[in-house]
């Protein structure tokens, strides 16, 4: 008989294969969106949290989760969306930040916890690693990003905002 720990770990691993549709290099685990997994009467219940209130990726992620569980031989999964505690970029894994940088999106610098300062630290250019960068626009291609440009290599790039 499979122990409960191993079973939950297995379910977690299945859920953790799901990627963010807007940032395909990151899994929902990397982003810290995957919050909880449990079994209720044999049914997998996955809890996820949105990055932003209006994040349109949540429905896609929920559908992808159900598919991932079906592929793994389950009947599907129930997906619950939770708002509290509110998601923060502090939950993004170090591995996730490295992947993000590799992909060309500057990862969030600094932490949200206990601070209301957001843009005090220099953002590093993901292309040439220069810290000499400037913000072009507070709002970028998705809710979670701002648009930056590198003053050294001139490359414009997305920056994942601290939230």
């Amino acid at each position: 008989m499979v122990s409960k720990t191993a079973q939950l770990q297995q379910l977690w691993d299945i859920a953790a294969t799901v990627h963010d549709p807007e940032i395909p290099v990151l899994t929902i685990e990397d982003l810290g969106i995957l919050r909880d997994i449990r079994l209720e009467e044999g049914e997998a219940v996955v809890t996820i949290t949105p990055t932003y209130s209006g994040c349109p990726a949540m429905d896609t992620i929920a559908a992808d989760l159900r598919l991932a569980f079906m592929d793994a031989g389950f009947d599907g999964a129930r997906v619950e969306l939770t708002l509290a505690p509110a998601w923060t970029t502090d939950w993004m894994s170090e591995a996730g930040k490295a992947k993000l940088n590799e992909y060309g999106i500057a990862p969030p610098v600094g932490r949200q916890e206990g601070s209301r300062l957001r843009l005090t630290l220099s953002v590093k250019c993901p292309r040439c690693n220069s810290l000499d960068t400037r913000e072009l626009a507070h709002f970028g291609s998705t809710s979670c990003k701002a648009l930056f440009q590198c003053n050294q290599c001139q490359e414009p790039f997305d920056y994942f905002k601290v939230l």
Binding site: S3, K4, T5, L8, W12, R35, D36, I37, R38, T47, P50, Y52, S53, G54, C55, P56, M58, D59, A62, E80, L81, T82, L83, A84, P85, A86, W87, T88, Q112, R116, R118, L136, A137, H138, F139, G140, S141, T142, S143, L147, K161, L163
Partner: protein, 291 residues
């Protein structure tokens, strides 16, 4: 396996622990099925639901207004910025309306698409036309600062769902305040023409500010129950913050009197009907349509 061991394992996998179990659960609107509603926490009390409806309607109507700018803003970055702000507001509206709708056995979509003009509870400021860009920025400054002060207080709400939605929304609204502030400074200290137009816009929107701080009977009950603040209690800080931005932008704080308004009772300006016609037409023409 002993009970305590099982409990330990559950705790280990509980992610953020107890908070999850008591946290707000919302289900994406168009996926809302009767069985999802049954799984959710108990519906809110009538007053809480009505209050959530007010908050949701403010965000919904302003989101609809702002989204009009997409492809029409003065620069591409601004299309994106206003689009993002609209999306944040729509997110807040969805959460509040989903919560409120449980009280009446409805869905968020039924509340958004199948209510008539006089059934909407949004503040008159939120339905004001976009005007030139200046009017939109003036409206954003007034509303975003109000919303930030309100949500800051709602984080302490005795209603855990309202508190959770507000805590999340608050982080986003901080960016909205910053956006409006940056534009005020830029237009106010820009050219004579940009300053003149922003001053005109600030004056034009000012009469609708009074209503933001009007205490309605529901507000009194909400405040007594610790669910939310009295709107009037936010006024002093709002005045300080907004005046500081306007003065730094080298413009004048408007002096006009507040317009008479009872939006929370469903009395709206003539603008809301046109807005709703556009927002609701698809859902009404093709009931049950989905992506």
């Amino acid at each position: 396996m002993s009970h305590s061991h099982e409990q330990e394992i559950e705790d280990e996998f509980a992610g953020v622990g107890d908070t999850i179990a008591s946290a707000t659960r919302v289900t994406p609107g168009h996926a809302l099925r009767p069985e999802d509603i049954a799984l959710q926490d108990a519906p809110p009390a009538e007053d809480n639901a009505e209050y959530a409806l007010w908050l949701g309607d403010d965000s919904l109507i302003l989101a609809q207004r702002l989204s009009w700018w997409i492809s029409r803003a003065p620069e591409m970055e601004e299309d994106v910025a206003l689009g993002n702000i609209a999306l944040d507001l729509l997110g807040h509206a969805r959460s509040f309306l989903t919560y409120a709708s449980k009280q009446w056995g409805k869905t968020e979509d039924e509340l958004a698409y199948w209510r008539e003009e006089e059934e909407f509870r949004n503040l008159r400021l939120t339905e004001q036309p976009n005007g030139g860009f200046g009017e939109t920025i003036a409206r954003q400054l007034y509303f975003a600062v109000y919303q930030e002060l309100l949500y800051t207080r709602l984080v302490q709400s005795t209603d855990s769902t309202i508190a959770a939605i507000s805590a999340k929304a608050l982080k986003e609204v901080a960016y909205h305040v910053d956006h409006a502030t940056q534009w005020c400074l830029r237009l106010g200290m820009g050219t004579d023409e940009s300053a003149r137009r922003l001053q005109h816009a600030l004056n034009l929107m000012w009469p609708y500010v009074g209503e933001l701080f009007q205490d309605e009977p529901l507000n009194e009950r909400i405040a007594a129950a610790g669910i939310g603040p009295l709107p009037s209690s936010l006024r002093e800080e709002w005045d300080q913050r907004v005046s500081a931005v306007i003065e730094e932008s080298e413009l004048q704080v408007p002096q006009a009197k507040a317009a008479m308004a009872h939006s929370r009772a469903g009395d709206h300006s003539e603008h809301l009907g046109y807005l709703l016609a556009e927002m609701q037409v698809l859902a009404r023409k093709h009931p049950g349509a989905s992506w």
